[in-house]
Symmetry: C2
Subunit: 339 residues, 2 copies
């Protein structure tokens, strides 16, 4: 209840409120609010307000602004693990695009854990976020209902059942086909791979491999694992210890590829002499490891930027039907697949 007449110095200790700016400028709080926003204010008063803001060192309280205006100017980015270089790159693109339109980004790591996914989705609701960009596990993608959540969702990397939500994905079948055709052209016939078992992505890439092989009357041997370097390395070691190993192996993403290469090294297998190796994600290291690894390069930055663009478009027109943007991967041929 006590008045604070100490306008002596700027930020002694009290935080400056809009009321203080109004007092200093000799106008009403409404006018200050309008001058700071885009309301109709005369040039004269606008100048006064700007001077008062500078003099008092006023910084708006975003919580108050959000509460009253009902605009959080915040989006959520929910991925499995930011340390996956794919998501790292995507996140950078999303944040660039978000900050460019005055939005903040809340980043969440789910570790492919449906419980964490549910928890973070609820958090997003409590934050009253403007929208969410989300790479869900298969389990969550299935039961996801954007209508129920209260904010638009754009899926990345992994898609939901058609028509349910906007999505930006790679043409996984096409990309897998590119890889397989390349391997076949190099003379490899017996082809297999390790695929992630938590997302739809692993399944789609396997399906692409299978389809391409079948077009040539061949079969593919696939194994499904947790999409981590550790699981991939272990599976690779086990596989390489068996009698009949394929001539060429495919990794369903960058982390799996990393683990597979480690496993091959540990087993003393020479690449490509004893085994050809290829995979997804043109991470920095794939160019430099061994003879260079043949990979499918995803337009990572583009995926993030496009996801953000779709989110903004969805906000403009909430009613339009769900869209799926399918981007193409690029085959980068390196030494790991030269017979």
């Amino acid at each position: 209840m006590q008045d604070h007449d100490n306008l002596t110095e700027n930020d002694c200790k009290m935080t400056v409120r809009i009321k203080d700016v109004a007092l200093a400028a000799g106008v009403s709080v409404a006018t200050v609010s309008r001058a700071l926003g885009d309301g109709p204010v005369s040039d004269e008063l606008r100048k006064k307000v700007e001077a008062a803001v500078a003099a008092t060192g006023y910084l708006p309280n975003l919580s108050a602004r959000r509460l009253r205006s009902q605009h959080s100017h915040t989006i959520g980015l929910i991925v499995s693990d930011i340390r996956n270089p794919f998501f790292t790159a995507v996140s950078r693109a999303v944040e660039d695009a978000a900050y460019a339109v005055g939005m903040r980004v809340i980043l969440c790591n789910t570790d492919e854990n449906p419980q964490k996914e549910a928890m973070y989705l609820r958090l997003m609701q409590e934050e009253r976020v403007t929208g969410v960009i989300f790479a869900p596990t298969r389990a969550t993608a299935q039961k996801l209902d954007p209508q129920q959540l209260g904010f638009p969702v754009v899926l990345i990397d992994r898609a939901a059942p058609p028509g349910h939500a906007d999505a930006v994905v790679l043409d996984n079948a096409e990309a897998a086909s590119l890889l397989v055709e390349h391997l076949l052209a190099q003379g490899y016939q017996r082809i297999g791979g390790l695929f992630g078992n938590t997302s739809t992505t692993g399944a789609e890439r396997y399906a692409g491999v299978l389809a391409a092989m079948q077009r040539h009357g061949l079969q593919a041997e696939a194994r499904f694992i947790a999409p981590t370097p550790e699981a991939a390395e272990q599976a690779m070691r086990a596989w390489l210890a068996e009698p009949a190993v394929p001539q060429a192996l495919i990794a369903s993403n960058g982390l799996v590829l990393l683990g597979m290469l480690r496993g091959a090294r540990a087993a003393g297998i020479a690449i490509p002499q004893q085994l050809a190796l290829a995979g997804f994600d043109n991470d920095n290291w794939t160019e430099l490891a061994g003879p260079g690894l043949t990979v499918i390069e995803q337009p990572v930055y583009d995926i993030g930027r496009t996801a953000m663009k779709m989110l903004l478009e969805r906000l403009e027109d909430p009613a339009r039907s769900a869209r799926k943007v399918v981007l193409s991967g690029r085959l980068v041929v390196r030494g790991s697949t030269s017979a």
Copy 2:
């Protein structure tokens, strides 16, 4: 939830406010608030409130909560670029620790740009964040005054003038010394390196190299560049085209090391036969590139976790004097430095 009647009735379109919960439970809003928090509420009413929360599908509005309680439960993490694997790993640790104590993280990329740093620091003030973990450029570290900002700051990777702010850093001189001693033990005498020119880290690592060399009566040749793979590759190519190239080169961080390796490859230089190469940051790929790269491994996850811990301690005791936690790097010897 198989109760269709309730579903259609309840969360049709209106957002549920605490007032609605109070109405549904037949208690006052204060009691609802206390039941959700840790206030004194009888078991009977607490049960009623919980039932009403479940029935109405109430989700608290965090903006309102933050405004009133004056606790944002949010911390800022300001780094140069999340795509730098060092910061990626740190960010994951920070977020794990933050969410574990019920705090959210706002991530900002500054691209080593002092203007962006200033902009994001102001944003943090407007968000009324609880605290900030910050990897500043040298320019900003110099003029940083945590008192003025209004929230505690913990610096990572790079330190400010002593006593100004809490910090978690690597013992750069010790680590650089480890590298140099190792190279000398391998018989290399003419040693040089590429160091980042924006942070104090590059300078400290150079100083460490210089000091170690001087202890053996030797000199070191250093060049300072923008800490990006592109700049490093270009500088490397230029250097390798000159007549007298050192026998061993050191990179001041993982990105620079990546660029240097690319430059060496482009110039057709064999490692370690024609040139030894070593650096900082035990990124995934360093183990797999060429003969394996000798590096200083930083305790990346530990750095992030410690930074968060220091921030929480500082919040408990704002008055205590600034602390600097110095962690040690570990030398990982690989093929790139075997003479």
